[in-house]
Symmetry: C2
Subunit: 238 residues, 2 copies
């Protein structure tokens, strides 16, 4: 079993991954706040931007799933800088110093949000067009991941997560956008699991969405590189 550290493990995506991966990985959890319902005892509470501390937390870890960050698209610069930019450097550099080989980064569709605003079908190869400082911090995390792969021989997989929501949120949707952008809980687990398993590619940027009929973000490279085979399609709630 791989030893896998999840940063931001107390969050919504963290909780879903903990449940979905606990029988397939030896989990270590990290967050800035305590995790009340942790599946394991191996829990670390602290600041992801503290590189020294993160290097200690990463000891013995094979892979880091980096979720920690300010998740708000409206986050002000101060928070984006401290939590998303300094925190992502802390997670990657801590992983590197500890000898972890693999990174999975929770990037975001907001790294390319202006294409969506203009109605442009988007592939991961297109230049970024962040729609927020939050989106800029996510493209920063992708570029930094690429550097760790090229410079330090690590593997890194960046997932531009769409609308991470339970089935009920699609069913009771306020807007039809989610029919295009949904990422179901089980597809999230599958996608991260495949990033933890893949050996054929060292780096990739992938849109993290279910197999939505109305998708306007291209997932072909996730299917090709990772073998991602989404089980859900928001269309069944349409």
């Amino acid at each position: 079993m791989q030893k896998v550290l999840i940063t931001g493990a107390a969050g919504r995506i963290g909780r879903t991954l903990r449940a979905g991966l606990k029988d397939r990985c030896d989990l270590r959890l990290m967050d800035r706040k305590p995790i009340d319902d942790a599946e394991v005892d191996d829990v670390h509470v602290g600041d992801v931007a503290d590189v020294e501390w993160m290097a200690a937390v990463c000891q013995g870890v094979d892979a880091v799933v980096h979720l920690a960050g300010d998740p708000s698209t409206g986050a002000p610069w101060e928070s984006v800088l401290e939590v998303n930019i300094k925190g992502t450097y802390g997670a990657y550099e801590g992983a590197r110093r500890a000898g972890a080989q693999r990174l999975v980064f929770a990037s975001s569709n907001h790294a390319t949000g202006f294409y969506e605003q203009e109605g442009v079908y988007t592939t991961p190869e297109m230049p970024v067009r962040p729609d927020s400082l939050y989106g800029v911090s996510k493209s920063f995390g992708e570029d930094l991941a690429r550097f760790y792969v090229d410079q330090h021989g690590m593997k890194a997989y960046c997932l531009r997560i769409g609308s991470f929501q339970p089935d009920s949120a699609v069913e009771n949707r306020q807007s039809d956008r989610i029919l295009s952008t949904w990422l179901s809980y089980r597809d999230t687990v599958q996608l991260v699991w495949r990033c933890l398993q893949v050996e054929s590619v060292d780096f990739g940027i992938y849109y993290g969405i279910s197999g939505n009929e109305r998708a306007y973000w291209d997932t072909e490279n996730a299917r090709r590189d990772l073998g991602y085979a989404p089980e859900d399609d928001a269309e069944r709630f349409a």
Copy 2:
């Protein structure tokens, strides 16, 4: 005449631009240290990462040529973060708050340096492959510039500067790399001047090199978008 603020005006590129632009622009100069040989009295000494202060310095300015930053490819994270990341945000956000419309950003070929290491001919459309934390900070500056254009209706031009050197450095070169990567002083001035004049495009990323016969970075978009017509070619020193 446009009112143009140059950040990092005391540096090597700053000095060249001051001399080359002083008769064509109404210059304002900014640096963290005093500028002994300033062409104008309108000089401001302070910290580019201080947004409030930068907003004051940008009052009445039409364009900001943002050169300030740690120029070392070996710069450690702390310096990259403070000077290049926080400083670039400070410059852009200060410009925006003051109503400046146009940004010219001194990016770097090191945003895509791993293509060069692998001998790959590179165009500005290719995904970044930074070769250093410095290079990551430059791709950050490009992505942030794109955001300011899309979100705030500004114009921004990112120049991935090659080897900015006098003729003598090409003539007395230690390595032939500079025959491919050279950017002469007068081509630097021309390129920035054209970025200050262009109206037909709002955003672009351009390799900043002279018309070198041995170039492996594509300058076609600079010629097309900006009308850049380099006067120099390192080959005459070959």
